[in-house]
């Protein structure tokens, strides 16, 4: 039977390193995805992800379990992302390569996806990434947490330290701006686009 996060945290606090490593395996990809989407740079997102787990490990004795372990991790990661953005004093960059490697493309392709569909999805992804980089940090983070991490409005409000109504406003304004950007770029968004 798979241990819960709480059980693994308790064992880690008792000095079981392997339990913490299991937590890392469980959460490294979501944390990396969050960091990448917020700051937009692959290498820096990797560093933020690494730093998140290092900080979590160091702070583990002080973690009392008031919040979910994942929420705690997300908070650490978001703080690190915010620090990175302030340090860089710039908006996230769109890092989509101009000439994608064909083998890379092939490996990304879904089982029922043609090359043409894959290329179209890559183009749309680049446009979305660019549009998201133009949003304010708060709007972008709210959308990322909602869309890709399935958080509730309340969870986002707790993470962002703002009222629930503010979260809704950020989502509305962010999505509206994204919509306008897509329309300007003549992007048709078909119904069948699958979440990846």
């Amino acid at each position: 039977m798979t241990a819960t996060d709480e059980e693994l945290v308790a064992r880690s606090q008792g000095g079981d390193l392997e339990s913490f490593n299991e937590l890392i395996v469980r959460w490294e990809r979501p944390i990396y995805a969050l960091a990448y989407r917020v700051i937009g740079r692959e290498e820096d997102a990797r560093d933020v992800c690494q730093d998140t787990f290092l900080r979590a490990y160091r702070a583990l004795p002080g973690f009392k379990g008031q919040a979910k372990f994942s929420s705690w991790l997300y908070r650490i990661a978001l703080n690190l992302c915010r620090d990175w953005i302030r340090r860089q004093r710039r908006a996230p960059v769109s890092q989509m390569p101009e000439d994608a490697d064909a083998m890379e493309l092939a490996s990304e392709r879904g089982p029922a996806e043609s090359i043409e569909e894959l290329v179209a999805r890559r183009e749309l992804s680049a446009i979305v990434e660019k549009a998201m980089a133009e949003l304010s940090e708060e709007q972008r983070t709210a959308i990322i947490l909602k869309e890709y991490h399935g958080m509730t409005f309340q969870e986002i409000a707790d993470l962002q330290g703002c009222p629930l109504s503010t979260v809704k406003t950020r989502l509305y304004q962010g999505l509206s701006q994204l919509r306008r950007h897509l329309e300007r770029n003549g992007q048709m968004v078909p119904e069948m686009v699958k979440r990846t």
Partner: protein
């Protein structure tokens, strides 16, 4: 508009969009959307933006983060642990840029060597009479490599190749590899490489074709617009000329009638 939902309440619309509202609110908003074009357009546009977001995926990378105990590492934690980070080996390089593996180099050497031997063998066998008699007399006859020699050489190279391939693959199981088995493995690897290459070329070609098609389509539209504009201009000019002819004809008709 009703007590539960006010038209233009963006927060409520977002709640409806993400299905984070009470059943009453949901029902009220759904009912409102059938009557209010503005709110319906809002919800439709936001849904469209959400669908586009599904296309945005972070790059797939190997993370491999883990905590290990090392006292001499830089980032030592209070408990003496350190966060080690396994980075991926290297950026993926195209296959044609990657250095040839040892087995491929050996295979290439075999092919070149065998070709050289074959050429020599054929030349010696095909033109024995061309060798001057004096030379034949002064030097002992040199026989070309026999088939057995070639087989022995091939066998030896295969053994060396197997050893090289084995040395280059640490993950391989430590069982003895026979020359024959190694040859099969090599053939499999060569076949896999060829298949990979064909697949890559196919994908590359399709991608280029898609881009080319898009460029061609854009050019075609621009040309059509240009042609349409020119036709319009020509039509305008023709109408002007026709008008002038008409005026001339009228003038002549008037003059003729006056002369009569």
């Amino acid at each position: 508009m009703n007590e539960i939902f006010q038209c233009g309440d963006h927060g409520a619309l977002v709640g409806y969009l993400y299905d984070e509202c009470t059943p009453e609110e949901r029902e009220a908003i759904a009912s409102h959307l059938t009557r209010c074009v503005s709110c319906a357009d809002d919800v439709s546009g936001l849904s469209s933006a959400r669908r586009a977001l599904a296309a945005w995926a972070p790059p797939e990378i190997a993370l491999g983060i883990q905590i290990t105990r090392k006292s001499d590492a830089e980032m030592v934690t209070p408990s003496g642990s350190v966060l080690s980070f396994t980075r991926p080996q290297a950026e993926r390089t195209p296959w044609w840029k990657a250095p040839l593996p040892a087995w491929a180099q050996v295979a290439a050497a075999i092919v070149i060597f065998a070709a050289g031997l074959s050429v020599g063998y054929v030349r010696n066998g095909a033109r024995p009479a061309a060798v001057p008699q004096a030379t034949v007399a002064s030097t002992p006859p040199v026989a070309g490599p026999s088939k057995t020699d070639l087989e022995q050489l091939e066998q030896r190279l295969r053994v060396e190749m197997a050893q090289l391939a084995h040395a280059n693959s640490p993950a391989a199981a430590p069982v003895p590899v026979t020359a024959r088995a190694s040859g099969d493995v090599t053939m499999e690897q060569v076949k896999a490489l060829i298949a990979d290459s064909e697949r890559k070329q196919n994908i590359d070609f399709t991608e280029r074709a898609v881009r080319q098609n898009a460029t061609f389509e854009a050019q075609r539209r621009a040309d059509l617009e240009s042609v349409s504009t020119r036709i319009g201009t020509l039509q305008g000019q023709t109408r002007g000329e026709l008008g002038q002819l008409q005026q001339g004809f009228n003038y002549l008709a008037t003059r003729v009638s006056q002369q009569k």
